[in-house]
């Protein structure tokens, strides 16, 4: 029982982690909580659905959905946030909430407000079958795929951030924007790149969740977004490894909370974690003390 909870919690945690890195990267470069990030996750699922219904094979549909979500993330920044870069931070924050509501409603207009199943015929039949069984623990193929994709994306993201020129520019920008622009770094272009990366990862999370639970709905980004945000805070907002760790910890905590305390409290775990972190360790598990930020 416990082992099975851990397996399921880990799966959920990787999903949160994939979403959380988007929050934390954007916060790192422009100190904005992008509340519309949950909607990018939702759009990932619906875009995949649409591409599949156009007759595209699953891998291509997923890839296109990620690219489209990345483009939407970039546009979101250019249209909604960039004009407010010099404005008080509250203005951008309220705009982010507005964009979240707007994108939810746009999705309702396009795809309807009722939950839709993930098109079964597009998935290989073995996905929902057990891949591994030890005594009373089962891991499905879908779970293995989530592990593999999530780990692959996170390793890839880390390589981009630590090894490439644009990744180094992202880190430089997060540390000192004036200095970064004095290096000749095109700040807006690097911010766009950050939105694109985070959105692609978030979209992939939405795609995999809609396959895993076999459902998607226009408001699915809200709760997932709040939880992933809690994960980012838990890990230390601004820290990419922190977001990954925070996601996994939160996913496991939530699943255990639902299993051992009471399942109606499951969604409360994220809020409780967030409140506890803010009270006792505002810099999160892997974050830096806030005072260090210039």
């Amino acid at each position: 029982m416990l082992e099975q909870q851990l397996v399921n919690g880990f799966t959920l945690g990787l999903i949160y982690a994939l979403i959380a890195v988007g929050y934390t990267m954007v916060y790192g470069v422009i100190e904005l909580i992008n509340f519309a990030h949950g909607e990018i996750y939702m759009l990932g699922a619906f875009l995949t659905l649409s591409f599949i219904s156009m007759g595209l094979p699953l891998p291509l549909a997923v890839l296109l959905a990620m690219l489209a979500a990345a483009a939407i993330g970039v546009l979101l920044d250019i249209i909604a946030y960039r004009p407010l870069r010099e404005a008080p931070r509250l203005a951008a924050l309220i705009t982010a909430i507005g964009m979240s509501i707007f994108l939810q409603n746009l999705a309702m207009i396009i795809w309807g407000s009722r939950p839709m199943p993930f098109p079964k015929q597009a998935l290989p039949a073995f996905f929902s079958e057990p891949a591994l069984t030890f005594s009373d623990v089962t891991i499905s193929w879908m779970q293995i795929i989530i592990y593999a994709v999530a780990l692959l994306l996170m390793v890839g993201l880390n390589l981009i951030i630590t090894r490439t020129r644009v990744g180094t520019a992202m880190r430089a920008l997060a540390q000192n924007q004036t200095a970064a622009s004095l290096m000749g770094i095109n700040v807006n272009r690097v911010i766009s790149f950050t939105f694109a990366l985070g959105s692609a990862m978030g979209a992939m999370a939405g795609i995999m969740v809609s396959m895993y639970y076999n459902t998607m709905y226009p408001t699915m980004g809200y709760l997932a977004g709040v939880k992933a945000f809690a994960a980012a805070v838990l890990g230390g907002i601004g820290s990419v490894p922190g977001a990954m760790l925070g996601g996994v910890v939160l996913g496991i905590a939530e699943t255990l909370g639902a299993g051992y305390v009471s399942s109606p409290y499951r969604d409360g775990v994220a809020y409780a974690v967030m409140i506890l972190v803010i009270i006792f360790r505002p810099s999160g598990l892997l974050g830096r003390a806030v005072t260090e930020k210039a």
Partner: protein, 235 residues
């Protein structure tokens, strides 16, 4: 090489520069001295395109750069070592240097200039895998200068490189500035340490609350009675 014509720069409603004109010729060291809040940093930030003047114009090598982006200005050959150094604290020394070469594509040249920076500041070579934020103030200043040189600038803007450093380190930094200038880089030096700045500068300008009030050869300003009393603390 560089010409500012009556530039006026604002922060919101606050006017920091009230018509600053100055010239820098190829090969010179020109210094800009003045009290706190006179507008020295604002002048350099206007040149770098971080803030844009509302009036007046800035020309570099015959091109109007008043409204150009910092990216463009850096690619034309103007780099700045900002006040307070602004190194990237959580990038390694080497990554800091490479960020200085951000707009360059010539790998071999970049490698060469990295070596040159280590030759100029040997301590940076020892510290190259260390985080920038762990360096001492003097080392950070060296890193900031090394980083700016990585762009192979034609014109190097330095904002108070002596700030907060021990006299011996200041002397070392100034020697290196002279060396950089001898190697062919034109230098514009903002300083509170007027004594040292005027000693190495070919020409100097005195800035007071957004206006240029005095200009002339470095030696001449050193002996100017107003400069002596206001900026050198001599009678």
């Amino acid at each position: 090489m560089l010409e500012l014509t009556a530039i006026e720069t604002f922060y919101g409603n606050i006017q920091a520069l009230k018509g600053v004109s100055l010239k820098v010729a190829q090969g010179e060291i020109v210094t800009l001295i003045g009290a706190n809040g006179a507008g020295k940093s604002t002048t350099l930030m206007s040149i770098s395109g971080v803030v844009h003047p509302r009036k007046g114009s800035i020309a570099f090598m015959g091109e109007d750069i008043t409204a150009s982006t910092t990216e463009r200005i850096v690619s034309m050959g103007i780099t700045q070592v900002p006040e307070g150094r602004m190194i990237f604290p959580r990038l390694t020394v080497r990554e800091n240097l490479l960020m200085g070469a951000y707009l360059r594509k010539d790998k071999a040249g970049i490698r060469e200039d990295e070596e040159h920076a280590y030759a100029l500041f040997p301590v940076l070579r020892e510290r190259r895998s260390q985080m920038g934020g762990t360096l001492s103030g003097g080392e950070q200043q060296m890193l900031a200068i090394g980083r700016a040189l990585m762009a192979r600038p034609k014109l190097l803007l330095l904002d108070e490189p002596s700030l907060g450093l021990a006299p011996l380190v200041v002397e070392n930094i100034f020697e290196i500035i002279v060396q950089i200038n001898k190697d062919g880089v034109t230098v514009m030096l903002v300083e509170q340490n007027a004594q040292m700045a005027l000693q190495i500068a070919h020409r100097g300008y005195v800035l007071e609350t957004g206006h240029v009030t005095l200009e002339g050869p470095g030696k001449e300003l050193l002996s100017n009675p107003k400069v002596r009393s206001a900026y050198l603390g001599l009678d």
